[in-house]
Symmetry: C2
Subunit: 354 residues, 2 copies
């Protein structure tokens, strides 16, 4: 007989545009997320590609407006770095006071090794004028919004220091292959440490501004709005919050007594993860998990494991909190904000040992 | 360029054993759920098949113990009926007081046209003794449990009246093809109106008992236990509760003003769906949805639609409740029970019209 094939799948959140999350609990979380399990997050339908899609322009507050062709970029000095990409809406479904938007669970996060040219090198060729203040990246994807009239490209800006950081790349490869079409082929901006909205896919143009960029994906979306009724305290979504996910066991699962290998990932946009602690009694006491790092890859998630010998039947609340080198630690409750970004409360599951 | 293919997938809940739910919000809910979207619910690993798997035995309180071969069954008088199969744990994740077990959302339900021989005909060949009281169905799948020692086959019983109902089938085809392996090939019991646990896959044996069957999937699992601390009020899971699901729009989605086609399904195990009502204002007032029935298929879900013309921006709580010909109606809150079976509270989503 043909033995049935069992495999996990991306978890569909919307089809138009396509938004699917990674089945984060159901495959080996190594350095590289397999292409078929890499989360997909789109604002619009996929763009059509043509000859001219194989180039990116630089203009605005630069001495020389330039066009870099795909083949030009392939021959320039490059870098290859492992980067965790996390949608800022990851875990949005977990906010107790529910918010509108795609109800991502824990899988709007994936990791890959990206190869490309430092953006800084391209900006240096063009020559920034002293008036340069922000750099705007437009993708080839565009469309309409429900909250305002008109057609918009997907466009985001970075402050100069992040644009000039040597690890901000115009990437052309993911895991040793051309970037898959759904993930930005042929060219994608990769911004380590920032939430995924900054890593613009199908990169079309780079425009240096002498002012703040005010496109809707900069000032309407991807803004923390902590007030339910007022505009007070708004701030932009930028760096990834320190965070972790328990991969195994699953929430609400039934387990046998014996040895249970609890495992998961942890990541941050500020520095690096220093330690991961678990509580097996709902927060009364904490123990350290073993942390496994990818050498020389500061932007990669870390894997953590803990060997739990459990002989006592009963219900257990298991918590996990990560801490980073900036002293950030996952909070008991995430900061609520109207559009549900940056959820990073202490991870928590309940299991029953029978 | 090759246009990217966009498709929904089964939603993985566990891989060992395989449990995956239907992406119910993301394909056309017609009479037949495509095989790739049919929910998968297993208690154990898949059974190995051999020559002897192509037969089912009948014994116990019968005049003649018999073995029916697959090929015998194919040549006997048959019936073909559309049946909604719903796992009794469907929507378990919705219980506010959380319970252990697989956290099914709304997709542990699918529908197909099953062809097979009425079980009654087979029991008549064997000849029930007057002592016959229950009929036990064992599948070829077996394994261990977390809550008790030993190896168990998956086995379930039916009371005599349901076993003798002319629409309870020993099925060999789904949607005009041999039953897919994952769904019970070569032979599966199909019990219309009962939750899916009764429709035993990989049917191996039929045993007529003179007593109540007390296998663990009969008296430990698939029992409503309404008390948090006591055994009071326990009752077996049998008939499907009247229920509905809103397929579109999605919960917490952002919509434009204009005309929105709200749609979904409704189903019951007691009689048939008589009407489906929607509330567009959180339950203050109700309107009737249009109901579309599959002719002469009393065990099939109905499709319902409602054309909502919405010009006023704002947040809306949309509720849906179905009623059946036995007078059952979806309750405001589902009856809580320790293992989380039979959830059928009024369906409810929140949307924001911008």
């Amino acid at each position: 007989m043909r033995w049935p094939h069992i495999e996990p799948h991306l978890i569909t959140r919307s089809l138009v545009p396509e938004n699917q999350e990674s089945p984060i609990h159901f495959f080996s979380l190594a350095a590289v997320t397999p292409e078929g399990f890499f989360y997909i997050r789109n604002h619009f339908s996929y763009p059509m590609l043509s000859e001219e899609s194989f180039a990116v322009t630089i203009d605005g507050e630069v001495r020389n407006s330039l066009t870099f062709h795909y083949r030009d970029l392939l021959s320039m000095p490059s870098k290859e770095i492992a980067v965790t990409l996390e949608c800022s809406g990851n875990k949005r479904a977990r906010f107790k006071l529910k918010v509108y938007g795609i109800q991502w669970e824990e899988g709007a996060i994936s990791q890959g090794v990206w190869k490309g040219v430092p953006l800084r090198d391209l900006l240096n060729y063009a020559g920034l004028k002293p008036t340069a203040r922000e750099v705007v990246f437009a993708g080839r994807d565009c469309g309409t919004r429900t909250d305002m009239a008109g057609t918009y490209p997907y466009a985001r800006s970075l402050p100069l220091d992040k644009a000039l950081h040597p690890d901000t790349l115009v990437a052309y490869e993911l895991n040793g292959q051309p970037i898959p079409y759904k993930h930005g082929y042929p060219l994608r901006l990769i911004v380590p440490q920032w939430y995924g909205m900054a890593s613009v896919k199908w990169l079309r143009s780079i425009t240096v501004l002498d002012a703040r960029f005010t496109g809707p994906f900069q000032v309407v979306d991807y803004v923390y709005e902590p007030g339910t009724d007022s505009d007070d305290g708004k701030s932009p979504v930028t760096l990834v919050h320190v965070n972790s996910t328990i991969q195994f066991p699953m929430d609400r699962s039934l387990l046998d007594t014996g040895t249970i290998q609890i495992c998961g990932i942890a990541w941050t946009g500020t520095g690096f993860i220093t330690d991961v602690e678990l509580s097996l009694n709902g927060g009364e006491s904490w123990v350290s998990a073993d942390v496994h790092r990818l050498p020389n890859q500061p932007y990669a998630w870390i894997l953590w494991t803990y060997r739990w010998d459990v002989s006592q039947q009963g219900e257990y609340a298991i918590l996990c909190r990560a801490r980073d080198s900036y002293g950030n630690i996952q909070p008991a409750a995430a900061s609520w904000n109207k559009k549900g970004y940056g959820y990073n409360a202490i991870s928590s599951i309940n299991v029953k040992v029978e």
